[in-house]
Amino acid sequence: MSETTMTTDREFSEAAVPAPRTSGRTFLPIRQPEATPQPARSIGHLRREDIFRVLGAAAAGIALTAWLFTQVAPFSGVLPFIVLSYIFFVAFYAILVRFDDTLVGVKDKLATVLFNSIAVVLLVALVDIVVFTVIKGFPAIVHLNFWTQDLTKGGPLDPLTVGGMLHAVVGTLIMISIALAIAIPLGLLCAVFLAEFPGPFSRVVRTVVEAMTALPSIVCGLFIFATWILLLGNPTSGLAAAFSITIMILPIIIRSADVVLRLVPGNLKEASFGLGASHWRTVVHVLLPSSRAGLMTAIILGTARGIGETSPILLTAGYTTFYNFNPFSGPMTSLPLATFLLVKQPSDTQIARGFGAAVVLMVLVFVLFLSARILGGKGAGQLSGSGLRRARATSMRMSARVSRRPVVAPSDGGPYAVPQAESGQR
């Protein structure tokens, strides 16, 4: 406190109430010697009553439903039994909670029960769909030939030990590779344009791209079918299918990449500009690396969508049972298309093969998805363990380089003049 304020302070206190002098001293509160630190209480633990309530309500619900089904009403079937038991269970549970809780508490407990059961129902249904497919395809996929052969010899009457789906895997991979070879560079370039050059023109592009994400996949196929195949007279081929997939995934990739690029913190870019980097260097060295994970996710999710889509390929690729490595001529098939066409045939072996193809497709999507989770899933600047170590090592190297630099005394140009050695060092 400076001299002047001290003076005014004293004057003030003397003029007003004759208060005790307080300046220059802080009184600490006197600690209660008997206050001991309390052990932390667990607030998330499950009480015995909670479990008893759920079990009791469940038992009462099932018992009441069983009594209704066997003694009273003309109900039958497993599903009505489950539904009715559940309704009674919820009702009994509400009554039990009401015994020793307020209405607010009852609502809270009911919401908990409801959300738990909805999540269980949806997840069980989804897992059921996958498991159902795997079980139905199991007779086909256990044979090694299913993964290593094409379907030339595997007719409707041939056993499952003959023929496989490798031709469809090859076709799928060729189509998606061509589609990605067009969609990734073009999509990323367009996304960079949208994020880096805002203006009336990019607003138009963004609006059109957003509109095209709504294009139903079958209409993409219909467009290629009407132009490339009917208008230009090309035959159905892998290339045509790849084009239709490109049209489908291009807006998806652009849109999600645009979102990711716009999430890059502005101060990173400003730092780059401030250090004198040009625009394109900023994009290449700051914008793209710091959003690498998100861009990867955008691309891989677009890929998963493109691999799994059947309808555009149905219109454009034709169908084969043999290997076709040439996307420019001859029909080509893909896994979803093979699944779709095989299960419509009135033959049990073909249906099993169709389910098998669906399993192969799911495995492919799963692998893609896993790689997306490993490569992506982190925001800009959030580094993994190894990435952090790498960044630290780079930083140490830089700092060592800077400290090795000869210290140059400021020249005559004043205290802020650029050292003469600077240009030579770079």
Partner: protein
């Protein structure tokens, strides 16, 4: 980018300083490249849209206003319209959304608010993976499992709630024990349930992401004021995530309208408006295209394009509506780092 500033002399300090940006040739090249990329995408996308509009409108011009009211699909005799397929598309999508939205909302709430931390990461992965499962897999499940499994349920609903028009099944007598149950298969309900299973994880994943962003301070504030967990969700998480909820629903609706294979596999196509959702037979625009594209008559293709155009416009309107709504809500707000 090199920025050269013309230093102002002392007298004119009130004038804003002029900045001249000097760009190297690399920057000019980069600008040109990016701009050409944008132009190329615009051309490509515009071409698809324009082609669709031109070819489609030529078919609509032939049919006139009856395009919206005719139920039959016979382009060669110029007697065609989308009344049946459009109504079928909308009915299936509405069924799907009615089932999927509570499922998605409940599951996303459970994952973000109730699930134990160890389970949460696993559930997030599962739901996201389910959103990426190809639609043909859902179609298989619908065609081989649900179509039979749903018969007793549909029968029960139509017996007990048949007085509601949409649940009525004309031609089914509940008192006749020998009545064929095939009347209940391949219905709009089956297609709707299949699509709902497809759409629910997509919506749930969008909603979950928004719920997880609800500000922690407001959550703790609600809890500190004595709110229960449900009270906190109702007053903090849902109002904050409203944009995400609507966005998720709209995204799901868009997918439900455009879904082809999952629907095409399970339904039996009829060209009449069928509002009895339990009764066999319905239709959708995308199934119509999948069924009829092979008849390579240019005019028929134009007619299919017109149907596709209508579907495209509806989906586009829904998408834009969703982006406007979620743009206005708080959920989309992000901080500049």
């Amino acid at each position: 980018m090199t920025t050269t500033t013309i230093a102002p002399s002392v007298g004119e300090a009130t004038e804003p300083r002029k900045t001249i940006i000097v760009r190297g040739w690399q920057d000019h090249l980069f600008r040109a490249l990016a701009r050409s990329g944008g132009t190329l995408v615009l051309t490509l996308m515009g071409l698809v849209g324009l082609f669709l509009i031109i070819r489609g409108s030529s078919a609509i011009n032939v049919a006139g206003w009856s395009f919206l009211t005719t139920q039959a699909w016979d382009p060669n005799s110029h007697h065609f319209g989308i009344a049946a397929v459009l109504s079928g598309t909308i009915i299936i999508a509405v069924i799907a959304i009615v089932i999927a939205v509570p499922m998605a909302l409940g599951t996303s709430t459970y994952i973000s608010e109730y699930a134990p931390l160890a389970l949460r990461r696993f559930l997030i992965g599962t739901v996201d993976l389910m959103a990426a499962i190809p639609s043909v897999v859902y179609g298989l499940w619908g065609f081989f499992f649900l179509d039979e499994a749903i018969v007793p349920i549909a029968q029960w609903i139509s017996t007990n709630f048949g007085w509601i028009p949409i649940f009525a099944v004309p031609g089914f007598d509940p008192n006749d024990p020998l009545a064929s149950t095939t009347i209940f298969t391949s219905s709009a309900l089956v297609a709707g349930v299949v699509v709902s299973m497809m759409v629910a994880p997509i919506s749930a994943s969008v909603m979950r992401e928004v719920f997880a962003q609800a500000p922690i301070g407001e959550r703790e504030g609600a809890l500190a004021l004595g709110s229960t967990r449900w009270g906190m969700i109702r007053t903090v998480v849902y109002p904050y995530g409203l944009g995400g909820i609507i966005g998720g629903i709209m995204l799901g609706l868009g997918r439900a309208l455009g879904e082809t294979i999952g629907v095409y596999l399970v339904i039996s196509q009829v060209f009449t408006i069928n509002i009895h959702i339990l009764h066999s037979g319905t239709n959708s625009i995308s199934s119509l295209i999948a069924l009829r594209y092979g008849e390579a008559n240019p005019f028929e293709t134009s007619a299919l394009m017109a149907a596709g155009l209508v579907l495209f416009i509806i989906t586009m309107a829904i998408n834009f509506g969703a982006s406007i709504i979620s743009g206005r809500s708080r959920s989309g707000a992000t901080a500049e780092g």
